[in-house]
Symmetry: C2
Subunit: 219 residues, 2 copies
């Protein structure tokens, strides 16, 4: 009998982790060897231990799955990573694959997909759950395919400190005037940052900024 596939699970919901463990343990070829509730825990765990597969939730407080993925990639061994997405982070898929994600499953799909995904990526075959595929398809036919994602995500981390501050405040319903007071800046200056953000993030208005902040866990 060959060795079992060693899996580590990261999600901020203990209940979900327990559920996945219970499910995975019904499969003879898979063994859960650890879990983490935060991004930091994941990195810590992999300092001292190892697993073949990391099932990684995108949405976690503090250090989110995206950030973990990025840091992981740098010193990546032979581990494969499956991203768990809570809402449809379809736009992120392309970007995250470049960072080394090997599979995507949405939490809304049945648990058996996790087992499928694990076995698939373990055999070097990327796995995408059906709704992710569908989302990608819709994205492709709905708008231009070969543009947005790249420059948009490229800009993602190219925000300056001030821009980031303003972005956070915008997403908290503050007006330009209020932000100026809070940051001890001129209203004009805050407006400049706002304009810069609109352009960089390629959104139409403050709502777009707020949604961006949510998606990227800036707030």
């Amino acid at each position: 009998m060959k060795e079992k596939i060693k899996v580590h699970i990261a999600d901020d919901h203990m209940i979900l982790i327990e559920g996945i463990i219970a499910m995975l343990n019904t499969d003879k070829e898979i063994k859960v060897v650890g879990y983490s509730l935060t991004g930091m825990q994941v990195l810590d765990w992999f300092e001292k231990n190892n697993a073949d597969i990391l099932v990684l939730d995108i949405n976690m407080p503090e250090l989110d799955g995206i950030e973990v993925l990025k840091r992981f990639n740098k010193k990546k061994g032979h581990q494969r990573i499956i991203m768990l997405s809570s809402y449809d982070d379809v736009k992120l898929v392309k970007e995250l694959t470049t960072y080394g994600a090997d599979g995507f499953i949405s939490k809304t799909c049945a648990g058996e997909h996790i087992i499928k995904a694990i076995k698939s990526v373990y055999n070097n075959t990327p796995y995408f759950s059906d709704d992710i595929k569908e989302g990608l398809f819709n994205l492709a036919i709905g708008q231009n395919v070969a543009d947005g994602s790249k420059p948009e995500s490229k800009a993602t981390s190219s925000l300056t400190d001030r821009e980031l501050e303003v972005l956070k405040l915008v997403a908290q319903e503050f007006s330009t005037q209020e932000m100026a007071n809070q940051l001890l800046l001129s209203v004009n200056t805050v407006e400049t940052y706002r304009k810069s953000l609109l352009k960089k993030l390629n959104v139409k208005n403050a709502v777009g900024l707020a949604m961006y902040a949510v998606k990227h866990k800036i707030i």
Copy 2:
């Protein structure tokens, strides 16, 4: 041997449901007799079937747990309801208990708490998980207890169909003019809905609306 406690589970994440089922089935006194992925499914299910306990997620698309709870209460039989909260909906606890919620558990706590909660409320003892208790405590000492939450959350699910449509569009960066075109309405009318939303949801601007939509999984 006495009859098992019949449980119905409602959550929009299939994986979570499967996990909870796997866990609950390890307990001899509990039996999962059904599950739902949406609020509507819950109501439909209880039209034809019955359970002792309903484990109800607060955050579900379309008809959320709060609304289900309200409608449920009206024609409630002897069922007990345990609310599953994903983020700390501490402010809602008081209100939801008045609507008939018998227990609260946060998804961040271990799964065994669900079992405890089920047995507890089945014996007519309300159950609150530790972090919910802690949250309530912090709320109590941190700020005034008996204020805001009521009017704010009361409005929560009392949005009309049109308001909900507008809310969705606002959260997608559409301007009033664009919404008017899309909904075949006058700009004035759309503005009316927008104003109504601002008041009902007690937010300051479009960003507030968008954030509300995100929190309540309307988009």
